[in-house]
């Protein structure tokens, strides 16, 4: 079936077409067989009736006919028989009717050589005719028969029979024609009832794929489709159970990380204070002690930051992070971030003017500082920060001039505890910074993306939705400027 161009591709259309074809063939076969049987029996019966009638007519008339017959006897017999008829006896002939030309040589030979009534259907311009021929026999007292020499031929019109057959044929055609729409309607109804569960199954599968694991079907009956629905339900149930279990375990694991971080925070705070005290006291110790003390303090601080980051991450994972939106000037906020970290001298900041947006300033600070720290640590100066805005979004792109991103998927740098270089594993960062920066951006509905820039190093772009209602010409003008700037850059 596949590959036949006329075969429709839709399941419903296929079913309807198949139905109609089957119905047509079945109706045609049944009607055709019935018609053929009825036709042949009608013809046989008509023929037999004509033969019987002829035999009776001759049998009735013959005892009154003189034998050997004279011309007048033949005429009398012919009149008794009626219709188009030809009667011969040796040289004598009596005939009437203009259809006697239909008498074939075959039938004459059969009559001359036999002792039976013979029949032949012929079709002429005047329609179908039945030609009958028979000898008349003499019967002796002992029942033996011999030929009398009298031959009778008659031509009977079959037009009434033909008309009867024509009427039947019309009925048959009408039956077949009537079967088509009925079959089509039936097919539509049945295909609907068959396809509805299939469609429902597809819909449920889509819902399942979309994450709605509670989707279930209500199987009806005991057919294959019901079985399929039951299997589907079973699958969905197993899936829901498994996914639920996995979620539970993941939640447990994350809770554990959060709990551990939380538990570590207090002792670490104490430890940090103690270490700082020790550092202060180390001024009068040997240089070796001072160095060790400094190292211990650094590592303790790093540990404290790692715990803070872990706590932050687990808050993100738990969905417990809340946005505290306020409308601020992004350019100023970025400048503040640089200033408080003491990076102002090391970073070039380009701000187009006042760029207002509704963001969480703490999270913006975290994200920007992470990106800049990352650029300063892994890239080479100059580090360039470019703040841009269009009607909907504000972007802060941080570009360094270092070696660029590691090979492979640029997004891998956002993976937690991702280490670009094993040799530089001991960096200042916790390994969670970029991941937290991205989580912060996404919490806003924005994102952080990374890419290499031709002629520079890596570029990290923080995009945040401005969250402003579009009003005033200033925003629109900004947007147009920005687009032009972007275009230039892309070339």
């Amino acid at each position: 079936m596949r590959g036949a161009s006329w075969w429709p591709s839709g399941l419903r259309a296929r079913m309807v077409l198949a139905f109609v074809l089957v119905a047509t063939v079945a109706a045609a076969a049944a009607s055709g067989a019935g018609y053929a049987a009825a036709r042949s029996s009608l013809i046989d019966e008509t023929q037999q009736r004509a033969v019987d009638a002829l035999r009776n007519q001759i049998g009735q008339a013959a005892p009154a006919i003189g034998y050997p017959p004279e011309r007048s006897d033949l005429d009398q017999l012919r009149r008794s028989i009626g219709g188009d008829a030809l009667i011969t006896f040796e040289g004598l002939t009596s005939s009437a009717g203009d259809t006697l030309g239909l008498l074939s040589d075959d039938i004459r030979a059969a009559v001359a050589g036999g002792d039976d009534v013979v029949a032949q259907r012929v079709v002429s311009d005047a329609g179908p005719k039945l030609v009958l021929g028979t000898p008349i026999q003499l019967t002796e007292l002992d029942g033996s028969r011999r030929d009398s020499g009298v031959r009778v031929y008659v031509v009977r019109d079959l037009r009434p029979t033909q008309e009867q057959l024509d009427r039947w044929e019309r009925v048959v055609m009408l039956t077949i024609a009537a079967a088509l729409p009925v079959a089509a309607v039936l097919a539509l109804v049945i295909s609907g009832s068959v396809l509805r569960p299939v469609r429902r199954l597809g819909q449920s599968a889509r819902e399942l794929a979309a994450g709605n694991l509670h989707t279930r079907l209500s199987p009806r009956g005991h057919d294959e489709l019901a079985e399929l629905a039951t299997t589907f339900n079973h699958t969905a149930e197993t899936l829901e159970h498994t996914v639920g279990e996995l979620r539970d375990r993941e939640a447990q694991a994350r809770r554990f990380v959060g709990d551990v971080s939380h538990e570590l925070r207090t002792p670490l705070t104490v430890l940090t204070s103690v270490m700082e005290m020790l550092e202060n006291d180390a001024a009068d110790r040997s240089p070796q002690d001072r160095e060790l003390t400094t190292m211990a303090v650094g590592e303790t601080r790093r540990l404290a930051r790692l715990v803070e980051d872990l706590l932050e991450i687990s808050r993100f994972d738990a969905g417990a992070s809340a946005l505290r939106l306020e409308e601020i000037d992004i350019g100023r906020a970025v400048a503040d971030t640089l200033r408080t970290r003491g990076w102002t001298e090391r970073v070039e900041l380009t701000v187009p003017g006042v760029v207002r947006a509704r963001v969480d300033s703490r999270r913006l600070d975290v994200a920007v500082s992470t990106l800049v720290a990352n650029a300063l640590h892994h890239g080479e100066p100059p580090v360039v920060i470019d703040v841009r805005a269009d009607a909907d979004d504000v972007t802060v792109s941080v570009t360094d001039h270092g070696p660029g991103l590691p090979d492979g998927d640029p997004d891998q740098v956002f993976v937690r505890f991702y280490k670009a270089d094993v040799a530089r594993a001991r960096s200042d960062g916790s390994g969670l910074g970029l991941s937290i920066a991205r989580a912060n951006a996404r919490l806003h509905g924005g994102d952080v993306t990374a890419a290499d820039v031709q002629g520079a190093g890596a570029r990290f772009v923080l995009r945040l939705p401005r969250g402003l209602k579009r009003s005033g010409a200033e925003g629109v003008a900004d947007a147009e400027d920005d687009e032009a700037g972007d275009d230039d850059e892309n070339r």
Binding site: A28, Y67, Q120, R145, E169
Partner: protein, 166 residues
């Protein structure tokens, strides 16, 4: 384009399916036998008389045609002709001008004879029955399927048979 093509092929399938029906009216045929030829012609009528030893003898009257049961019985009742008498034949039936009544109902022929039982000789009734059955045979009917009843003026109707034609 494809839809048109598809439609045409579908129509072709339907046409093929319905083709066996279309165009079968009455066609010509070869010559076929349709049973026994009719009979009923005869050069004369056979009547039965009795010979010297009391046996039934057929005698054909040159009537030129078979005639009916009734006409055959009338011929019988006129008695033997001169040549038949010369041949030693006689009739056990009295000669009579009174017409007999014959009812030919196909499978049953009833004849009312204008005689009493005494008037008919030993073979009289058989003469009548045989003459009737001779006509029955010559006209193509099966004598075994035809019952002949004879009614005499002083007796009821009785079934009778012919010893030479059964």
């Amino acid at each position: 384009m494809r839809t048109v093509d598809r439609l045409r092929r579908a129509l072709l399938v339907v046409a093929l399916a319905t083709m066996p029906i279309a165009g079968c009216g009455i066609g010509p045929s070869v010559v076929t036998d349709s049973g026994q030829a009719p009979t009923g012609l005869a050069a004369g009528t056979t009547v039965f008389f009795v010979d010297g030893s009391g046996d039934l003898r057929p005698s054909t009257r040159d009537t030129g045609r078979l005639g009916t049961v009734h006409s055959a019985v009338q011929l019988l009742l006129t008695g033997p002709s001169g040549t038949e008498v010369d041949a030693g034949l006689h009739s056990d039936l009295p000669s009579s001008d009174i017409r007999s009544g014959v009812v030919d109902a196909g499978d049953r022929i009833t004849i009312h004879l204008p005689f009493t039982a005494d008037e008919t000789g030993p073979n009289g009734v058989e003469q009548v029955v045989c003459t009737i059955l001779a006509v029955v045979v010559a006209s193509g009917r099966d004598p075994g399927r035809v019952r002949v009843s004879v009614s005499l003026t002083d007796a009821g109707t009785v079934d009778a048979t012919c010893p030479v034609i059964t």
